[in-house]
C-alpha cells in the first residue's frame, strides 16, 4: 500500500498561496516511522513540520526549494 505525503490542506486560507520545501529531514529511500518528522515547509514566514503518515520506505517526489501548494503530494511511503 502506498501512502501520499501531502502538504496539509487546512492550515492557511488562500488556495493560491505558494509554500516552499525548506528541508527534507529523511532521505529518499530511507525507512521512516509514522509520526516521525520528515520535512519542513515554509509559507508566510511560518515553518510547518511534516510528519510521516505511515511506516515504510520514503520516496521523495518534490525536492528542497521546490514550490508547493495546499494538498500537493511531496512524497510517498510504501
Amino acid at each position: 500500500m502506498v501512502t501520499d505525503v501531502k502538504v496539509p490542506r487546512d492550515l492557511w486560507q488562500d488556495d493560491g498561496m505558494e509554500a516552499v520545501i525548506t528541508n527534507w529531514l529523511a532521505s529518499d529511500g530511507s525507512n521512516v516511522r509514522k509520526g516521525a518528522l520528515i520535512a519542513e515547509i515554509m509559507v508566510e514566514k511560518s515553518q510547518f513540520e511534516v510528519t510521516a503518515p505511515a511506516d515504510g520506505v520514503l520516496t521523495i517526489t518534490k525536492q528542497d526549494n521546490d514550490i508547493v501548494r495546499k494538498g500537493d503530494v511531496i512524497g510517498t511511503i510504501a
Binding site: 492550515l11 492557511w12 528541508n23 514566514k45 511560518s46 515553518q47 513540520e49
Partner: protein, 231 residues
C-alpha cells in the same frame, strides 16, 4: 519583561513547543530582550556561502544564531523586545496561520492603540524579514512576526514570535544585515527608512513612560492569556 541570553530564549521557545506538543502544557508566553546578535532561520544555514557570512558577522561583533521559525535574517539587541506566544490550534479551520498571526499581534496593536498610535498589518519594501503580517505604523515596519507549527494528536502546537522595535535600527545594524546578504551572495538590500521604533512615535518627554506602559500592557495580556483557565 525578562532579559535573557539569546540562546536561552531560543531554548525556552523550543522547550515550551515540545511541552505543548507533548500535552504537558496548554500555552506559554514570554516577553524578552537579549544581547546584540543576528538570528537566521535554520533554512538559511544551508545556503552555500552561509559559513563565510556567519564568520564575518561574528568577527564584526554580531554572533549569528539559528531559530526554528520561518522568515529571514533579523537583528536582535537591547533596543528590540520580543513576544513569544505558544499555544494549541485546532485542525481543520483552514485559517490557522492567519488566526495565529492575529492572536500574536492583537496585544501589541492594542498597546499601540492605547499609546495613540494607529497600526495595521502589511509588507514593507526594504524592511528586514519582510512579511504580510508585519505590524506597520505610517507605512514603516514596527514589528516582525514568524511561526512554527508542529502536529500533535488531533491538534497543532504553534509557536509564534514577534519582534518589536523600541528604537529605529541604526545604520550599523542595517549595514550588518546588508553585509551578511552580500557575503552570502544574496541580492537583497535593507533600508533603515523602512522601519520605525516606538521611541520615534512618541513625544520626547513621554518616551520612557510610554515605553513602560506599552510593555506592561503587553506583558499583562500575555500573562493573562497564557495562564491556566478554570473550566
Amino acid at each position: 519583561m525578562r532579559e535573557l541570553a539569546l540562546a536561552d530564549a531560543l531554548e525556552w521557545e523550543a522547550a515550551r513547543l515540545a511541552d505543548i506538543a507533548g500535552g504537558r502544557a496548554g500555552a506559554a508566553a514570554l516577553l524578552w530582550s537579549c544581547e546584540r546578535a543576528l538570528v537566521a532561520p535554520a533554512s538559511l544555514s544551508r545556503h552555500p556561502n552561509f559559513k563565510r557570512a556567519y564568520s564575518r558577522a561574528n568577527e564584526a561583533g554580531w554572533p549569528v544564531h539559528l531559530r526554528a521559525t520561518g522568515g529571514d535574517l533579523v537583528p536582535q539587541g537591547p533596543e528590540i523586545v520580543n513576544l513569544s506566544l505558544l499555544f494549541r490550534a485546532p485542525l481543520g479551520t483552514a485559517s490557522g496561520l492567519e488566526d495565529a498571526y492575529r492572536q500574536l499581534t492583537s496585544p501589541i496593536r492594542e498597546a499601540l492603540s492605547q499609546a495613540g498610535i494607529s497600526s495595521c498589518h502589511g509588507s514593507v519594501a526594504g524592511a528586514f524579514c519582510d512579511g504580510r503580517f508585519n505590524i506597520t505604523v505610517m507605512g514603516r515596519k514596527f514589528a516582525g512576526t514568524a511561526q512554527r507549527w508542529r502536529p500533535m494528536a488531533g491538534e497543532m502546537a504553534v509557536q509564534t514570535h514577534a519582534m518589536m522595535l523600541i528604537r529605529t535600527p541604526d545604520e550599523n545594524t542595517i549595514t550588518t544585515l546588508n553585509r551578511f546578504y552580500f557575503d552570502c551572495g544574496i541580492k537583497r538590500v535593507i533600508h533603515a527608512s523602512a522601519h520605525v521604533g516606538l521611541q520615534d512615535l512618541v513625544q520626547l518627554d513621554e518616551k520612557k513612560a510610554t515605553q513602560h506602559r506599552f510593555l506592561c500592557m503587553i506583558a499583562d495580556r500575555a500573562h493573562f492569556w497564557s495562564a491556566p483557565r478554570l473550566s
